[in-house]
Symmetry: C2
Subunit: 111 residues, 2 copies
């Protein structure tokens, strides 16, 4: 595996750390401020250990960082631009709707 491939692999790791419904929920929630694991558990609605592992994946990727405060651990987004992803994903979804429409028109089902 060459150096160029390695560079893409590192970048893929970061994107992969977001590519999961629960992790997107977490990112969305963290976009509104720092949250403890217990808060995030309630939002995601999964086992605490599962949420903790999702957070570890995101921490390793450099997407979030944590801060201990007594018994609790608070997480926050490390790089705000991650939220741009949501906007672009919406654009993809809209484009998909457009393409479906065009397809139906092409097949003389619509319009």
């Amino acid at each position: 595996m060459n150096e160029r491939h390695e560079a893409y692999k590192i970048r893929a790791q970061i994107i992969k750390a977001m590519a999961h419904p629960s992790r997107l929920m977490i990112i969305d929630e963290l976009s509104r401020g720092e949250r403890c694991v217990c808060d995030l558990q309630r939002v995601v609605g999964a086992d605490m250990s599962t949420v903790s592992k999702h957070l570890a994946v995101m921490r390793n990727a450099g997407i979030v960082e944590d801060r201990k405060a007594g018994l609790q651990v608070f997480y926050r987004l490390r790089v705000p631009c991650i939220l741009q992803f949501f906007g672009c994903v919406e654009a993809v979804l809209e484009s998909r709707i457009g393409a479906q429409r065009a397809d139906l028109v092409g097949r003389r089902i619509l319009q």
Copy 2:
């Protein structure tokens, strides 16, 4: 599984379609214009069938679209904003370097 979860799942599918080194290579290459599968195969350096499957994943997600021309099939990006992802990923990487530095300083190894 509720409706809210379903919405995040759909969005995760789109991000997942980018979360692979070869697929990032492909997106990067397509950012410079339409390419046939054979071009992309050369760039990625994998089996043609593997590349074809990667393209199918991205097509299903709505990231790329294709156009047949004789024996060849040309792919192009469907939503240009995907390229913003690269910028943000770089920001995460830089932030990671910053954090490593801070960590070393904190442990009195640096500075």
